[in-house]
Amino acid sequence: MFLTRRSLLGSAGALAAVTALPLPALAQEVASKWFAGAVDDTGYRYRRTNFKVIEPQWQRQMVKYFSPQPPGTIVIDTRNHFLYWIWENNTALRYGVGVGKEGFQWFGHARIDRKALWPRWVPPPEMRKRTPGLPLKVEGGAPDNPLGPRALYLYRDNRDLGYRIHGTLEPWSIGKDVSSGCIRMFPEDVIDLYQRTPRGTRTLVLEHLGAPADVVHAG
């Protein structure tokens, strides 16, 4: 299949979320309604999402799911901002996701061949051009690392596609399209998904309606 924006990958191969630059004081007050304390996780911390202010459809829930995709696989519906972890008997665990620009630019089958705890983030060159002042890299577990506590890396034929499922520092962005990054989840949800999906899990990213006609579907 074809990646439409291969040039984005760069040497680091890390398409990731927009960075959380230090917030001005007023914005920080507003941001605090989204959080409820902090959680320790494997030596680092993340800000706990205040799910009371999150719309119900973005919260993790079990749903009926009818599709030809088999149990034990992931389906990502970028248009409707859902990620499904499919189970038997036409059920799935559904999570809300935020989708970055890079998250819309590829679709097809892949496999989670790599997973990481508290991954380091290296903004790709194009993103650093767009947003001057971005650091060269942000260490894993740093409070401004936009990948958060986990990343799941999508591969095809043993090749890293540059497509990731990761956490977020911005819970208000779940359910929305965002300017950059791939597939972001609440930190609680990416931790949960990480534990449920062994390496080798097949993932299908649905075609985003409006993709250019000349992009070949992976099948």
């Binding site: 079990m62 749903v63 009926k64 799911y65 149990p71 008997n89 036409n90 534990q195 449920r196 062994p198």
Partner: protein, 177 residues
Amino acid sequence: MSTSLVSTCRAGILVLAVSLAGFVAGCTTVNLTRTPDETNAPAPGFETVSVGSEEDFIINVGRRTYFAKGSATLDATAMRTLDAQAAWLSGNRRWLVKLQGHADDPGSVEADRLLSQRRAEAVMAYLVTRGVAPSRLWAKGYARDRLVRDCPDIECKAQNRRVVSNLRTEKDDAAPN
């Protein structure tokens, strides 16, 4: 398996609120309020999830731990899941747990039977170290009897190499006493 979940219901009995796709997915259950058979409708039994219920355990803790090829050793991820299971179980003491081990590994079916039993026992032993009373737990291996996916690739086999922590209210024939 709790009767609130669809997976015990195999008879195809037409229900009144039938889906557009014509799926016959229902069965007679205690819950008479059916949601439409379409994607994104709440799954049966999950319309509301009460704290301490099996549904709570499934959604908020997770029942499955996974194993590497040929191995019955718990990795760090599996241990984290089991830590959460043990914490939930110590706050919800009415539940017993049947550890169901599975395998889809190189070698004979008999080797898978042994491996699946060892996996279930590894999970049981770990839960005991995390404070769950042994009298609440029992382990059974299922070899390849219940594959999640059946194909030669890692994308299938990784799903099958697992232990499922199944909540129960009473012991069955597989339990030693």
